[in-house]
Amino acid sequence: MADTSQISPFIYGCSGGLVLNKDTFSFQPGESRILQNFEPDIKGGYKKILGTSFYNTNIVPQVSNANERVVMSAIFNDRVLVARGGTIYQGDAGSGSWTSVQASLGTPTANYTFSKFNFTGTDNIVVATGTSFPKIIDTSYNVINVNASGSQDTFSIVEVFKNHIFFAGATGSTQEIKFMGPFQTNDFTTGNGGGAIKVDTTIIGMKVFRGSLFIFGLDKIFKLTGTSLSDFSITPVTRTIGCLDRGSIQELGGDIVFLAPDGIRTIAGTERIDDVELGTVSKQIQERIDEVGVDNISSLVIRKKSQYRMFYPKTSGAEVASRAVISVVKTNSNTGQLGYEYADMLGVKPSCCDSDFVGSTETAVHGGYDGYIYLQESGNVFTRVGGTANIESIYKSPDLAMGDPGIRKSMQRVIVNYTNEGLVDADLTLRYDYDSATTPQPSTYPLNTGNVPAIYGTGTYNNSTYNQSSLPLVRQDVQGSGFAVAIKVIDSSAFPPISLKGFELEFTPGGRR
């Protein structure tokens, strides 16, 4: 039978991420005005982020005072190597105590940098502290003090490239890179392949990418190519753009991502060997980038999610107000184009972080300002010293004019499409006319339909529901009218994350008054 209800549908899928740089008429429906603690899901939609838990329930021992923050948390040898107050510790997950590996490294002034290598069949990690000679630690936690004659510098930057260990950031030599010979761990002599290179900018960080060592300066970026002292050569990538903080540099999905003064940029590989192109990918969140201070930036990647997280807490700020930018490389289901989508993360205050594989499990950890080491992507709440806190996840769509911003839309129903991994306790809200105070705004509608579908082999007794759709459509009758309407979903529960896939808005078009 023909539909004579005069109700019009407006359907969109959740894709595009957080967008802060568009006017009302330019927004694409799937984009978000607010996307807090929801991450763009590579499976489509926006998924509530996972929580954090203690990697080890014991605080990393302080050296001088309780205010010392953790300046290194590196996953190494299936454990975590941490540094606090000038001492490096190693510890296992759980509740075991932290074991000192190396003490007396000086009072930290910045996060330590590290690079993992294996020259001899044994994993090693080289740590540059900026306050002491670099340390090389093996899987037995033996420490080599990198203090060879002629290179006794307190480097703050380290990277391993073509079997050479490169250092930079020495006090008084901020433009100089020194490197040891191939497979050397304490030998900078030119006779054994060591050497030094200078660039005309203060070096901020180094990163290996596509057979080259990228040297990020304060206002320039260089690329070092070659395989040994005899053919190492430096060419500029750009002489106008630099990197704000070495903590922002990560490799993600075939690109190097870093924070430049004008936003998050990528050094992307091209189809031509050894060729790269420089791109800016954060214009849609430039407003947020402008808020980023360089107080202490740290970042990590979550490979299975094609996700880059850049944390930029203020040292004096509260944990609950600390922010991060989530960036995901994914295909926009609305446009079909591969690109970066963004979201805000709120409520975690990392001081330093790392992600790597422990066994076959990708693990992301961060060291806190409070001295604890936390596991990310763990649980459904944020773990803090004082207890746990529910994650407040907020999604807000653009103000949808649905074709004609001059026509009043009397909303009848919202059909929400999402996937869930457990019970759902979220709130759906409609905001009319750009949240106008002169337009009645309805109360929230509970969004709690959704049992855990019982899937053969994974369903569990008393938890999963037989014959439950794994992609439920929740039909919610709604009230109110306006010329534009925005959808808002708030999930502040401690339940497993939901992933918002899309919405259908059903409305009756009205007049122009």
């Binding site: 009397s410 009645p440 009230q479 109110g480 009218s481």
Partner: protein, 364 residues
């Protein structure tokens, strides 16, 4: 439905966000505030669609003043039934029926009490109470008392009128119930001898005697006042009424409507002791507070809702639903007229027929 629920009913039918008792008065915005306003507009439409809606009916008792010919109509009147004017003697007893208390009655002895039995009574058990009456010396008054002997004791109620409490200068009689279970009514006259008289009811026995009502008024026969037009009044009586002589005063016979919102009497009253009783239809007050309820019977509140929707749809430029709402409203008003206005199928022929008595009824 009250103001809140009426408004919310409209909002619900429009699928708009409803109000609550906490935000109704000062938190309504946009369409909510408009709907609130339009509910009152719709109510005014319903009220104005007919002059004599039963729920707007009211009675008025206007005391006359000797020598004053015109009296103001009530400030809230919208229509007056000029065929309803009667002149009756003024009731002199304040709280003559003891509906809810025995105030204005003064204890003379014992402890007079109020009993809610029946429709409210004065109970005397070894007690006496008196009321003060404003009377005119040498005028005759009618006294009516209804008594119930609730103890079936056979005790007598003393009824006394005098110039002082318990005085008997003007009247002293008793009333005794013989047929227990039934009340007895005393009708008696007395002539006042002072400008203030005291009516005393006294039961000396320790048994319950319940007084249902006590009525005292001047011995004047009530009569209907005949309505004449103002032109008629001017043509026939105005010149006489303007003579500066009390000879023109008397018991009024006619009522007319002045041109300035008053009614007039002819003859001009010669006494303060008359009461003019009449009926009128009042105006209404807009709803304001959350719990204000319109006078319209609840079963017709849908008509108000239909009218409100009519205006809202008009505002929203929705001609189709405006027409639907208008049709609903018109049908509702028609239904109200049928139920509330239509009178029995009988009419009065008021034409002058010199061969027949005026007022013959024509059955329908």
């Amino acid at each position: 439905m009250n103001y809140l629920t009426l408004t919310n009913q409209v909002l619900a039918e429009l699928n708009e966000v409803q109000l609550t008792s906490s935000n109704f008065v000062s938190g309504a915005v946009g369409i909510q505030q408009t709907t609130k306003d339009v509910v009152n507009k719709a109510l005014r439409d319903v009220y104005s669609s007919e002059l004599e809606w039963p729920w707007l009916h009211s009675d008025k008792i206007q005391a006359t003043f000797a020598g004053q010919k015109e009296y103001a109509l009530p400030t809230d009147y919208r229509s007056v039934d000029y065929d309803s004017f009667y002149i009756v003697p003024t009731e002199l007893v304040t709280n003559s029926t003891f509906d809810s208390n025995i105030t204005n009655w003064t204890t003379s002895s014992g402890t007079p009490a109020y009993t809610a039995t029946g429709n409210g009574r004065l109970r005397l058990n070894a007690a006496a109470a008196y009321a003060t009456l404003s009377t005119v010396k040498n005028k005759e008054y009618r006294l009516q008392v209804r008594l119930i002997d609730s103890s079936s004791s056979g005790s007598s109620l003393k009824i006394q009128v005098g110039t002082s409490p318990a005085g008997t200068q003007n009247l002293s009689t008793t009333l005794t119930i013989a047929d227990f279970g039934d009340g007895s009514i005393l009708d008696i006259k007395f002539t006042a001898t002072a400008s203030t008289s005291y009516l005393t009811l006294d039961n000396d026995d320790s048994n319950n005697l319940d007084v249902d009502f006590v009525k005292v008024s001047e011995n004047i026969a009530p009569k209907k006042l005949t309505y004449i037009t103002y032109d008629d009044y001017r043509r026939r009586f105005l010149s006489t009424a303007q003579i500066n002589s009390s000879d023109q005063y008397g018991v009024p016979d006619y009522i007319y409507k002045s041109q300035d919102g008053k009614f007039g009497l002819y003859r001009i009253p010669d006494s303060d002791g008359y009461s003019i009783n009449y009926e009128y239809w009042k105006t209404h007050d807009d709803l304001s507070a959350t719990t204000d309820t319109p006078d319209i019977p609840a079963r017709f509140h849908d008509v108000v809702i239909a009218r409100t929707k009519y205006y809202i749809y008009q505002l929203r430029s929705d001609p189709q639903f405006t027409q639907f709402a208008a049709a609903d409203y018109q049908a509702g008003i028609k239904r109200m007229r049928i139920e509330l206005i239509n009178s029995p199928t009988q009419m009065l022929d008021t034409r002058v027929n010199i061969t027949k008595t005026r007022g013959a009824a024509i059955g329908g």
